[in-house]
Amino acid sequence: MGDQPIWITFIVTFVIMIVLLTSMAYTTWYERKVLARFQDRIGPTRTGPAGLLQPLADAVKLMGKEDLIPEAADRKVFYFAPMITFITAILAAAVIPWGGTIELFGQSVNLYPTDLNVGALFILATGSIGVYGIILGGWSSGNRYSLLGAIRSAAQVISYELILGFSLVGIFIITGTMSLKEIMFRQHETISFGPFEIANWFVLSQPLAFVLFVIAAVAETNRAPFDLPEAESELVAGFMTEYSAMRFALYFLGEYISMIIMSLFASTLFLGGTSGPGADTYWPLGIMWLVLKAIAFLFFYIWLRATLPRFRFDQLMGLAWKVLLPLAILNIALTAFFRLIGNGQVF
C-alpha cells in the first residue's frame, strides 16, 4: 500500500465509488428486468431504450417526494438511521480487490483501495454496524410494524453473521491469511487434475462452506426468502414502513449496495475473483471476469426472489442455529483435519 502516492489511491477510490453507485442504480433495473422475465412480463420499457433510464426517473421521483416524519418518531434517530445503512454498505467496498498492481501512465497503480490484512473480517464488521440502521430506523419510527421488523432484523443479522463468519474460517485455514487480495491471488494458481489443469477456486475445495456462505449472504442482506424484516405481506414494509422520499431511497440503495458487495465478496472468496482466461496478462479482462461473476451471483439473488416463498421467523432461526451452525463447525473441523494431514502432522 505504501508504494503508491496517496492521490492515486484517492482516484482509484473515487472511480470505484462512481462505478458502485451507478451499478447500484442499474442493479434495480436489472432486478426489475430479470424478475419480469421470470414472471412472464417485460418490465420497464418506457423510459429510454429498454427502460434504461428508469433508475434515473426513480431517483428523480424519490428526491422530489415529500420527506415525511411521523409525529411519534424520535426525530434525530429517524433522521440519521438510513445513513448508517447506506454509509456502512459503501464502506465495505474499501477492501474488495479488483486486481493486482498495474502500470498505468508510468505510475504503478493498485487496483484496490486498501489491502487490509483482516479484509474479510472488515466486511463482516461493516455488516454488523449496518444493522444499526435497521434497528434504529425501526425503533425511531414509533410504529409497531417497524419495531417488529427491527427486532426480527437484529436477531436475523446476528445469527447469520455468525454463520457467514464461520463459513469463511475454512478458507482462512487453507490460505493462512485474511487479506482478500491474497486469498484472491491464491485462486489464480491452477491445480492439475489428471490431464486437465483447472483453476484452484475455493468453491472446489470448500463446497460446503460455499453453500453456507450463499445462504448466509442472502439472509444477511435481507433478501428473499429471508426478507423477514421487510416482509411486505405481514409487516407491510418492516422497518421502512414510515420512511419516504430520499430516506427510503437510502435504505433501498443500502440494500442493493450490500447485494453487490456480497456478490463481489463471494466471487472473490470462492469463485476466484478476477481469475479467468487471460486475466493474468490483461487486467481489464480480470475486472470483466469479476463483474461477470458478480452479475451471475446477482442473478441468483433475483432467481431466489422470483421462486421461493418466505420463511417464518422461527423456522429461519431454527435453520440458522440447528442446521447451518453445526454444518459450519463441521466444515471447520474437516478443513483443519485435512490441513493437518497435508502438513504431515497427523499421519
Binding site: 414472471q39 417488529l148 423477514l228 405481514e234 407491510v236 416463498p309 417464518r312
Partner: protein, 422 residues
C-alpha cells in the same frame, strides 16, 4: 312480555366460541400483561385482502388473541334489495364477491326461480354450469395467487392472473363485461351466443391442465411452502362443522359437504366429477383441496361443453308472467311490447312465501333467503355469503399461531371483503 330466561348449560361451554371476549380497550386492565403488545393489522394492510382490520394481541410474535373487525365495505345490499324489483337486484349481486360475479348471479337467480317455480331450459342450465365453473376457476386462481403472494411466492400471482385473464376474456365475449358480469337472467339467457365463444373456451381448456401442473410444481413440493402450510391453522372436523364452515374450509377438514353433490342444482347430477377431501384440516390440505377442485372444474367444463356444443335449443324459459319477452317480439307484436312495458316498469308479482336456495360457491355455501309478500320486490332478502361465516373461525385458528402465520390463515379462508361486508 318479559324476556324469557333459560338456565344456561355450563356443560356445553367447553365447546363454545368465546372469540373476542378479551376485548380490553384499556391496556392497564391487563395487570400482569406487560409482555402483551397490541398490533392493529389493517384496515389498510396488504394481506387482509381488502379493508379488514384484525386486532392482534401478541406475546413476542405469538398471537394470543385475534379479533377481526369487518364492515368497512358494508354497502347495505340486503336493505337495498328491499327497494329493488327482482330483476334489478342481479347487478347488485355482482358486487358481493367481485372475483366470482357469475356465481353470485347464479345463487340469486336460482333462488328467485325457485320462488317463482320457473323451469329453465336444459341448454341454459348447461351454459350456466360452464360459466359458473369458469368463474369458480377465476376465483380459485385469484385465491391461489394472493395466498402464495402472502406467503412470499412472488411470481405465483402473476402466473395465476395470466390464466384468469383468459377467463375474463371469455366472460367478455359472452356478456360484454369482465368483472361485474351481470350475466345470469331470471329464466335463462336471452341473447344468442357469440360465434367465437366455444373456440375461446376450447383454447382455455387446452392450456389449463398444464398450467395447474406449473403451479403445483412450484409449490406442492417446495420445502418452504410445506413448512409454512403444514400443521398451520388446523381446524378439526368437529370445529369445522360447529363453526358452520363451508367450501374448502370444511372439506379440507374431511367433511364431505359439497352442495353440487349433496343437494344438486342445475345439471350437476348429470355430470361426472369428484369431490376432494382433506384429511388433517390444515392450510396445506385446504390448498390441495382447492387445487384439486380446479382440476375437477376443468373436467366439468369439458363435459358440459362436449354435451352442449352443437345444441340449438332456446335458452330462455317461456313463462309470460315472469320473463322478459324476446327482443324480436317486442319490436314486432303489440302483446309482447305491452308485456315488455309492464315487465320493465312494474316488474312481476312473485308468489307469497319464502325460499332459501344455496349453491356451492367457490368459497363455500352461498345462500339466498327470500321472503316474498307477493309484491314485485322482495320483502326481505338475506344473503348468506360463505366468506362472512368462514371468517368467524379466524380467532379460533389464530390462537397460538405466529404473526407470520396470520397472513397464511387469512389467505386460507379465502375471503373477499365485498362478500364479507355485503
Amino acid at each position: 312480555m318479559e324476556p324469557t330466561k333459560t338456565e344456561f348449560n355450563v356443560m356445553e361451554s367447553t365447546q363454545t366460541d368465546y372469540s373476542g371476549t378479551l376485548m380490553v380497550e384499556d391496556e392497564h386492565e391487563l395487570a400482569s400483561g406487560e409482555r402483551v403488545m397490541t398490533l392493529n393489522m389493517g384496515p389498510q394492510h396488504p394481506s387482509t385482502h381488502g379493508v379488514m382490520r384484525v386486532l392482534l394481541k401478541l406475546d413476542g410474535e405469538t398471537v394470543i388473541e385475534c379479533d377481526p373487525m369487518i364492515g368497512y365495505l358494508h354497502r347495505g345490499t340486503e336493505k337495498l334489495s328491499e327497494t329493488k324489483r327482482y330483476a334489478q337486484i342481479v347487478p347488485w349481486t355482482d358486487r358481493l364477491d367481485y372475483t366470482a360475479a357469475p356465481q353470485n348471479n347464479l345463487g340469486y337467480v336460482l333462488a328467485v326461480e325457485k320462488l317463482l317455480g320457473l323451469n329453465v331450459p336444459e341448454r341454459a342450465q348447461y351454459w350456466r354450469v360452464i360459466m359458473v365453473e369458469l368463474s369458480r376457476l377465476a376465483s380459485h386462481l385469484v385465491w391461489l395467487g394472493t395466498h402464495a403472494l402472502d406467503i412470499g411466492a412472488l411470481s405465483m400471482s402473476l402466473y395465476t392472473f395470466r390464466e384468469r385473464e383468459m377467463i375474463m376474456d371469455i366472460f367478455e365475449t359472452f356478456c360484454g363485461a369482465r368483472l361485474t358480469t351481470n350475466m345470469m337472467e331470471i329464466g335463462g339467457f336471452s341473447r344468442p351466443l357469440p360465434d367465437t365463444l366455444i373456440e375461446q373456451i376450447r383454447n382455455f381448456l387446452r392450456v389449463f391442465p398444464n398450467r395447474i401442473t406449473e403451479y403445483t410444481d412450484l409449490l406442492t413440493a417446495n420445502p418452504i411452502w410445506l413448512a409454512r402450510t403444514k400443521g398451520v391453522g388446523v381446524i378439526t372436523p368437529e370445529a369445522a362443522t360447529s363453526y358452520s364452515l363451508t367450501g374448502a374450509c370444511l372439506r379440507g377438514s374431511g367433511i364431505n359437504y359439497d352442495i353440487r353433490k349433496a343437494d344438486p342444482y342445475l345439471v350437476y347430477d348429470q355430470l361426472d366429477f369428484e369431490v376432494p377431501l382433506g384429511q388433517f384440516g390444515d392450510v396445506f390440505d385446504r390448498y390441495l383441496v382447492r387445487v384439486e377442485e380446479m382440476r375437477q372444474a376443468h373436467k366439468i367444463i369439458t363435459q358440459a361443453l362436449n354435451y352442449i356444443e352443437h345444441d340449438d335449443r332456446p335458452m330462455m324459459a317461456y313463462e309470460s308472467a315472469y320473463v322478459m319477452p324476446p327482443h324480436m317480439g317486442t319490436m314486432t307484436t303489440a302483446e309482447d311490447m305491452q308485456r315488455h312495458f309492464v315487465w320493465v316498469i312494474k316488474g312481476f308479482s312473485a308468489p307469497i312465501g319464502e325460499v332459501y336456495h344455496a349453491i356451492e360457491h367457490g368459497k363455500g355455501e352461498f345462500g339466498i333467503h327470500i321472503v316474498s309478500d307477493g309484491g314485485s320486490m322482495p320483502y326481505r332478502m338475506r344473503i348468506r355469503t360463505p366468506d362472512y361465516v368462514n371468517l368467524g373461525v379466524l380467532p379460533h385458528m389464530a390462537q397460538g399461531a405466529m404473526l407470520a402465520d396470520m397472513v397464511a390463515l387469512i389467505g386460507t379462508i379465502d375471503i373477499v371483503l365485498g362478500s364479507v361486508d355485503r
